[in-house]
């Protein structure tokens, strides 16, 4: 009878043969996957922009927002708007028709520009008339994506009181659209040292950059819904947009020596003018 030889027990547990680089590579790969997942979430959760309105529908919205009764604008006062208007000291800026010039520089992708165009259109329409305004939305990939707004690109403005000159540097996809002249760029360099847009210069007497309210107040709304909300003076949209419009109106009244009186002599505008310095 034969006996099987006894197996000797190993003295040590076998040491793992996993190379040292596996763990770091696995961590980096996991993080790369996580970042890819974040990008996918961002891609799928970004809402699509509303299709632009037709010419007739745009006209209706513009007409609705620019025909608000003066009593409602007065009732709102500065609303929830943040007064960004600063006094500047420069030689008077005169526009192509010999009137004090209001110069705007912004871009269609920019949500803050999108927010600020609403009060600008309302305020400027109290001194003149816009034609050719088109609806658009801010960038889908920037903060406050798809903010409903208008573009000054291709629009014209006529007024017997002021000239309005606008530069929209890029479209909503950041493709080049318009370029400032050397003189316009010099204005921006002089008064907008932070480089923020939108930048607005009121005849070199007042200027501001940035938006007077946060664009999230317009989030997810259609142009008509925003215009309709302006008819309710207590709505967040009315407080933000009409409050900003009154601030802009007061700055323009300073340029026009309070003309027309129907706009500039209201107590609300007069009170704001006193705060502009």
């Amino acid at each position: 009878m034969s006996t099987r030889p006894q197996r000797t027990r190993p003295l040590r547990k076998p040491v793992s043969s996993t190379p040292p680089w596996v763990a770091p590579v696995a961590v980096v790969a996991a993080i790369a996957l996580l970042v890819a997942a974040f990008l996918l979430i961002r891609w799928y959760t970004t809402p699509l922009p509303l299709p632009p309105l037709t010419v007739d529908a745009t006209q209706q919205v513009v007409s609705s927002m620019t025909s608000l009764p003066a009593s409602e604008l007065d009732a709102v006062g500065t609303g929830s708007a943040n007064n960004l208007i600063k006094r500047v000291a420069g030689s008077p800026l005169t526009g192509p028709n010999g009137h004090p010039e209001i110069f705007y520089m912004g871009a269609e992708y920019c949500p803050y520009c999108g927010a600020e165009r609403w009060p600008m259109i309302i305020a400027l329409s109290r001194f003149g008339t816009f034609t050719g305004l088109k609806t658009t939305s801010s960038s889908s990939t920037d903060i406050y994506p798809n903010t409903p707004t208008f573009t000054f690109h291709g629009a014209t403005y006529t007024s017997q009181y002021v000239d309005f000159v606008s530069v929209e540097t890029t479209d909503r996809n950041q493709n080049p659209l318009e370029s400032p002249t050397a003189a316009q760029q010099a204005l921006v360099n002089q008064y907008d040292t932070s480089g923020s847009i939108p930048f607005v210069d009121f005849g070199n007497r007042y200027a501001f950059s940035g938006a007077m309210y946060l664009p999230d107040v317009l989030s997810g709304m259609s142009w008509k819904a925003v215009a309709d909300s302006l008819a309710q003076p207590t709505s967040p949209q009315a407080k933000a947009i009409l409050g900003s419009a009154n601030l802009i109106t007061a700055a323009i009244c300073r340029l026009t020596a309070d003309q027309p009186a129907t706009v500039c002599s209201s107590s609300a505008i007069q009170n704001i003018e006193k705060t502009l310095g």
Binding site: P24, L34, T46, I143
Partner: protein, 142 residues
């Protein structure tokens, strides 16, 4: 040792980035950063996530504290204190988890990337990777 030297260098670099962002927050010094739709430091740093819990303390101040502790741990390891390995690994894991949250905020919530923040995030990841194999040195074999 050379890996801990690299961890120390990464910690000091991260400390520099965090101090720079904190100084910019509290002063009017313009931030050196390109501004496009996707890359926009200003958009990230001026968001609600740019400060800690709605306070006036910038998130980068937390970065100063984290990188300072990280530098001390790396210096401790360099001086031969192998028992710090687990602490260093736990600290770097905490940092990495915070970084993953901040990257989520940048990409998903804000849709913008801050290049200075990303530089600090990469340094945190580097420190964590260094700690992975280094942590074994302090482990007791069964």
């Amino acid at each position: 040792m050379r890996w801990q030297l690299l961890a120390l260098a990464a910690s000091l670099a991260g400390l520099g980035v965090s101090i720079y962002l904190t100084v910019v927050h509290f002063s009017s010094v313009p931030l050196a950063c390109p501004a496009t739709a996707q890359i926009n430091c200003e958009q990230v740093l001026s968001s609600a996530y740019g400060v800690i819990g709605g306070s006036g303390v910038p998130t980068s101040a937390a970065g100063i504290a984290w990188f300072a502790v990280s530098a001390l741990l790396a210096a401790g390891r360099l001086s031969g204190r192998a028992q710090l390995a687990r602490t260093q690994l736990a600290w770097s894991a905490l940092g990495l988890l915070t970084v993953l949250f901040l990257v989520y905020v940048e990409i998903v919530q804000l849709g913008a990337i801050c290049v200075w923040c990303s530089a600090a995030h990469v340094l945190v990841l580097l420190i964590f990777l260094i700690c992975l194999p280094g942590a074994r040195e302090g482990r007791v074999r069964p």
